[in-house]
Symmetry: C2
Subunit: 189 residues, 2 copies
């Protein structure tokens, strides 16, 4: 027996070890698949918000009525958060591939859980700030004297509402990713 081989259950052969490795590998495959889905969600959100631009067909002598995402700081933050999380997810895929090769890795999974949780927080912050402003754009607020802008900028509002979906889907996927990494750590006997 070499030093690397660890006997886990006193009474067992290598069978549970191999089974644990199999589960770890399956989890790593699921991990990569979910990361791809989350990449699609965040990149879709960033692009659809980032390219939103509506110019109204009427204008006065001085002002052309135009709405774009960068008019509202929350939307800029939303695009930035989605771009950062998307970049992180792309960079984390090599680590997931390492986990397929070495399914019993511990500390790399630990780092992944920490980074996933941080990115989940960033993405949620961006999506939620944007959602608060989208809600305000739709409904306005009588008490604060903020009027709805969605009557004028109809397609702008549809677009910004739709762009939230990808982010919220990616948030759910990130929670599942954290759970999967933790599950792989728990299963590793």
């Amino acid at each position: 027996m070499t030093k690397d081989v660890v006997v886990e259950h006193g009474e067992s052969s290598k069978a549970p070890l191999v089974a644990a490795a199999g589960v770890g590998r399956a989890v790593s495959f699921a991990d990569i698949f979910l990361r791809f889905l989350a990449i699609i969600g965040t990149i879709g959100s960033a692009i659809s918000m980032g390219t939103t631009n509506e110019t109204l067909p009427f204008f006065t002598q001085f002002i052309q009525f135009e709405a774009k995402y960068s008019d509202l700081p929350s939307f800029t933050f939303f695009v930035a958060a989605n771009a950062v999380v998307c970049t992180y997810l792309v960079l984390s895929i090599p680590l997931s591939i390492v986990h397929i090769i070495r399914p019993r890795a511990r500390y790399s999974r630990l780092i992944l859980i920490f980074l996933d949780a941080s990115m989940l927080t960033l993405l949620t912050a961006g999506a939620s700030a944007a959602a608060a402003i989208v809600y305000l754009a739709h409904k306005g607020n009588v008490r604060a004297n903020w009027f709805s802008i969605c009557q004028q900028f109809d397609s702008f509002c549809e677009r910004i509402s739709g762009s939230l979906i990808g982010s919220f889907a990616a948030m759910v996927l990130l929670i599942v990713l954290i759970f999967l990494s933790a599950f792989a750590l728990a299963r590793r006997h």
Copy 2:
């Protein structure tokens, strides 16, 4: 040797097992301490936002100028999210106490990681939506024709800004809690 006792390293005695249990116990104590801090943060945020109320010293015949948190849906969500997370944290403390007694528990830690991640998302969503509206209350937005309300409601604005701090601190604590639980899982040989 009973069925419960598991020999971990083929060549080792029970020493690493005991050491792992010690680390697990230390992590559980830190876990409870951080949960208490997070409870204080969320309850402080919920109360300080929930009791915010400013009536201006002047009024017309028909309108008395008054601002309270329930005028803005994002603030109501903020209070609700903080209350839910605070309740969850209180309820999760017994589970952390179980982890002191049984430091090598696996699946209860896994459940805790999942619930902590979900609560982190809820809390971040509430805090971030409120922050987006607080920002708007301070700065307003020229493009959307939304005016700052902080010139009039000065102490209201100070209060709602301050109430965010507890939530953001609790967010950081929850990320650390997720990491600690994952660390305990990784250390458990």
